[in-house]
Assembly symmetry: C2
Homo-oligomer: 217 residues x 2
């Protein structure tokens, strides 16, 4: 039954989830919140939905640029280089971003007669982003359920696994991750040195995958 | 301490809350989600913030018109006339609207260094709108708290009282409710016959206030 709406960025995690649950997904939604890398991501989100025959919508969230503070919204030079760890990546937090995306997705799902919203948060994000953790997913699921009279719930099956685990799933599903986007700088190619690029490389290496991505460095 | 962000529609309830907590409010936010009556409401939201010297921002949420289904977004003719009760008003539900507004408000509060988001939901909305009930407020408070590492919480002090109770507070605060907007049709004057107009009239009558609003009927 196609009862699910997926939040699809076009990165490794959500593209894997798209293939993993393709027969249950009625609608894929990409949010354009004005980050440096949104255009790059959405290009790949579209491509995979076309390939799988899944309806895809892009929702413009212009208010983020104007009303939110985050290095992710301030241009490539603001993005920290180096490891994907708490101290280094803290400036990239967009406050309550996943809460906002899940809430809008819940309303859209309800409008479209769908009953679950999916998000591809995973264990590796927990230290940096509070709205990726298990407790948050439990609480926002309760809020979405009570706020829609039980008609919509949240399904986040990657919450407890790592990005390397996700890459292993993707390898088994035959995904070429060169057709996904991670780099927070959003240039022509992946920079290869920002925290998300490093995390991407490590996940593919740990999963034993060949990485066909073109990196600047 | 001015640590609160208020969601201010420009209707009776949120304008009352604005005056009730004016010394604690650092930012008032009006969401324009494309409903028939948003322009009318926001006019009064601005007026009261100017009068009180409270910073006011309008956030455009254009995606509602495109991706959501509700009679509130479909023009004046779609709005039901008659009493403010469940059967009649059901078509005006905008799915998870309060969840979406509270989530965006939470991110904005966090970006601005504020720690509480206020919303003026009340007891009279409970039957019709699931995202106005006490259980929803409890759950979304938990989600916003866990999703911001405890930096933002929800404060909804009118959840357990009625619109007539709110009107009594407003009378005591010296508010002239002719300087607020309720009518879902959003015409030149309040129509006087839609559910929200009837609810507005009743609340002022029960509170013993003189109603200076100009009604069509």
């Amino acid at each position: 039954m196609k009862d699910k709406l997926i939040i699809l960025s076009g990165g490794m995690d959500s593209v894997t989830m798209l293939y993993d649950y393709k027969d249950e997904i009625g609608l894929a939604v990409s949010f354009d919140y004005g980050s440096n890398h949104n255009d790059r991501e959405i290009h790949f989100a579209k491509l995979h939905c076309q390939r799988l025959g899944i309806r895809h919508e892009v929702v413009d969230l212009e208010f983020f640029k104007k009303h939110f503070r985050s290095s992710l919204l301030e241009g490539a030079d603001a993005i920290p280089e180096g490891r994907y760890d708490e101290e280094n990546m803290k400036s990239t937090v967009v406050p309550f971003r996943n809460g906002i995306m899940l809430s809008i997705a819940a309303g859209m799902a309800n409008s479209a007669g769908l009953t679950q919203v999916m998000i591809a948060n995973h264990g590796g994000d927990h230290a940096i982003y509070p709205d990726c953790r298990e407790g948050f997913i439990r609480d926002i699921n309760a809020a979405i359920s009570s706020g829609t009279d039980g008609e919509v719930t949240v399904f986040a099956p990657y919450t407890g696994i790592t990005k390397s685990d996700i890459a292993r799933k993707g390898g088994a599903l035959g995904i070429d991750y060169a057709e996904t986007w991670s780099c927070y700088k959003g240039g022509e190619k992946h920079c290869g040195v920002c925290g998300t690029c490093q995390e991407r490389k490590e996940a593919m290496a740990e999963a034993g995958l060949v990485d066909n991505t073109e990196y600047e460095q």
